[in-house]
């Protein structure tokens, strides 16, 4: 597999993608962020008590296909998205990036995240967890085909809403 991996993708390339993504999300350039996803991408935040579950059978926190994810971005850019107006300030650190497998044109990549979130009139909140991603190469460019953002918290509790993109 290592030879195939080396031919397909390097960790540095994956890290570049994630660092660019973190910058876009932290600066709320959400339309540009969508460009990092494949046209058939899916975006999941599983429930805290069932992190490995399937969204067809289990109630998730977020389970978006591209249609709804685009609508989510429309909503987030609207000043009437009260949960994110004024916008949160976020700063995310992505680390422990590991390429965990290649299956055909799909590259499985794990990473950890720490996202600090600050809001006017609100608590400072820290979202800690890990990503399971499936990446694909589209027109030579590495893109996110599936993102599963798994929070370590036992329950959302004082993290409150997940009203921004993890």
């Amino acid at each position: 597999m290592n030879e195939m991996l080396a031919a397909t993708v390097s960790r540095a390339e994956v890290e570049d993608l994630f660092y660019q993504e973190a910058d876009l999300l932290d600066s709320w350039r959400l339309d540009d962020w969508l460009e990092l996803l494949t046209d058939d991408a899916v975006y999941y935040v599983p429930p805290n008590d069932k992190p490995d579950a399937d969204a067809r059978f289990t109630l998730f926190t977020i389970a978006d296909d591209m249609v709804r994810l685009r609508q989510r971005i429309i909503r987030l850019k609207d000043p009437n998205c009260h949960a994110e107006y004024p916008l949160s300030r976020t700063r995310r650190l992505i680390g422990n990036v590991r390429i965990t497998g290649v299956d055909g044109d799909v590259i499985a990549v794990a990473a950890n995240f720490i996202i600090h979130r600050y809001r006017h009139n609100d608590l400072q909140r820290v979202f800690v967890g890990h990503y399971r991603n499936r990446l694909k190469r589209v027109g030579g460019r590495l893109k996110i085909a599936e993102r599963r953002a798994i929070l370590d918290a036992e329950e959302l509790g004082l993290l409150g809403s997940v009203s921004f993109i993890l």
Binding site: N48, F57, L59, F60, T61, I62, H82, S161
Partner: protein, 429 residues
């Protein structure tokens, strides 16, 4: 004796002036919260859980009920129980997991063990006790009362309380409407729990859950989503909402909205969000309802949305999907919410997926609507810091109309909650 720590009524209702005011001290006061704990949560039927959460003998869930740690479980004989999760010896939790299947409950402090029905099983070194030590009387303590209505289990910490059926009264009809979606009359809690805190007083979520007046301003981005997806959400001239619905007093402090549907229903009203390929399937679900229930009852089940509030802290919203959520106060300015999705047991994979998809578009901490409700409630709570200077919240909408004319955008049904709240808070405990 009235309970008036600040020397004023908490609720001032004036039918001549057609006004109804709630004093904001009720949202900020530690004394009020302590009183609520005894006068309301220790005396009302409090939701514990749903029978479907305990599929097999030995299954258990641990969760707080009216502030007590409780094991909600099914014993080896299949009986559903709610046991206080506290060792009879020195009080430690005997079950520290969220959920699972247990052959016994084991106190890790000194090793006492209990059967899943609560009976004490073994005590290490039990020869150190005198003759008065009777193992048969040292089981886990059940909640004083545990009763169910159609698989919804409630506890009551007041042994003298009326039975659950009497307590629920007319609310039972609205629970029945939810359950009638299932051909077998069996609904189940779907796996996956949404558990989040709101930094606001718990009573604000009762109001918010049934308050349709806020929809246009708080949820305009959700309405945009519906519009963008091809759903007609434009109100008729002179109306606040796409359809004209009512707020209903169900007695005993229970209340509901009752709205003609416009937002789609997994059982069974197709909207464009579901996609063309779902149309025939939803039509088939609809036909099943008509055959089983008759066309009038089928329309009642499939063409109306109802947000039902069971006093004090259980909400069953039967709208875009069905959510069961309860919430309890952690502090005057903080509540803990637990929410589930509910669906018919016989749903196909595609129907279940559609139900969950519809749920997430509106409800929950990642939905297109709930986070804005949370923001609204937290903004209100921040405003209450000035409760001394701006003491009154206004819940007068609809006071100029008769009871049966109260719209869901009026506040007649919210006043139902507050009147019951006042009655219990003023009663001798």
């Amino acid at each position: 004796m009235n309970y008036q720590p600040s020397g004023h009524d908490f609720i001032v209702e004036n039918s001549d002036r057609q006004t109804f005011f709630v004093n904001r001290e009720v949202f900020v006061s530690d004394d009020v919260l302590a009183r609520e704990s005894r006068a309301i949560f220790d005396r009302c039927w409090i939701y514990v859980g749903h029978a479907s959460e305990l599929k097999n003998p030995g299954d258990f869930k641990t969760r707080p009920v009216a502030g007590r740690p409780v094991i909600f479980c099914r014993d080896r004989e299949g009986t559903v129980r709610a046991l206080i999760n506290s060792c009879r010896h020195r009080g430690a939790l005997v079950c520290r997991e969220r959920e699972g299947n247990a052959r016994q409950f084991y106190c890790m402090y000194h090793g006492w063990t209990y059967h899943p029905d609560g009976r004490l099983k073994a005590v290490p070194g039990d020869n150190a006790y005198g003759a008065a030590f009777d193992k048969t009387e040292m089981g886990l303590v059940p909640v004083p009362r545990l009763e169910a209505y159609r698989d919804f289990y409630f506890a009551n910490f007041d042994r003298d309380a009326v039975d659950l059926g009497t307590y629920l009264g007319k609310a039972k009809d609205y629970i029945d409407l939810v359950i009638d979606q299932s051909p077998s009359g069996k609904m189940e809690i779907i796996s996956g729990t949404q558990e989040y805190d709101i930094r606001a007083n718990w009573k604000l979520l009762v109001e918010n859950s049934v308050d349709d007046y806020h929809l246009i301003s708080t949820h305009s981005t959700w309405l945009n989503y519906m519009r963008n997806s091809g759903v007609n959400v434009t109100p008729a001239k002179g109306e606040l909402l796409p359809t004209r619905g009512f707020g209903r007093d169900l007695g005993n402090g229970h209340l509901t909205t009752d709205n003609p549907n416009y937002r789609g229903r997994p059982v069974a009203k197709w909207i464009s969000v579901y996609g063309e390929d779902a149309k025939a399937d939803i039509e088939a679900l609809r036909n099943e309802l008509v055959v089983r229930l008759g066309s009038a009852r089928a329309a009642r089940v499939a063409d109306t949305n109802r947000n039902l509030a069971i006093f004090p802290n259980l909400v069953i919203n039967d709208g875009s999907s069905v959510t069961v959520r309860h919430f309890y106060p952690v502090a005057p300015d903080r509540m803990h919410v637990t929410a589930w999705a509910l669906g018919p047991v016989e749903e196909t994979e595609a129907q279940r997926a559609r139900r969950l998809h519809a749920f997430l578009t509106f409800y929950g901490p990642g939905g297109f609507a709930t986070p804005d409700d949370v923001a609204a409630l937290e903004a209100a709570q921040l405003g209450y810091a000035a409760w001394r200077e701006v003491p009154w919240s206004d819940l007068s909408r609809g006071m100029n109309k008769a009871g049966d004319e109260q719209l869901a955008t009026d506040e007649g049904h919210l006043r139902v909650f507050w009147r019951k709240w006042r009655e219990l808070m003023e009663a001798r405990v």
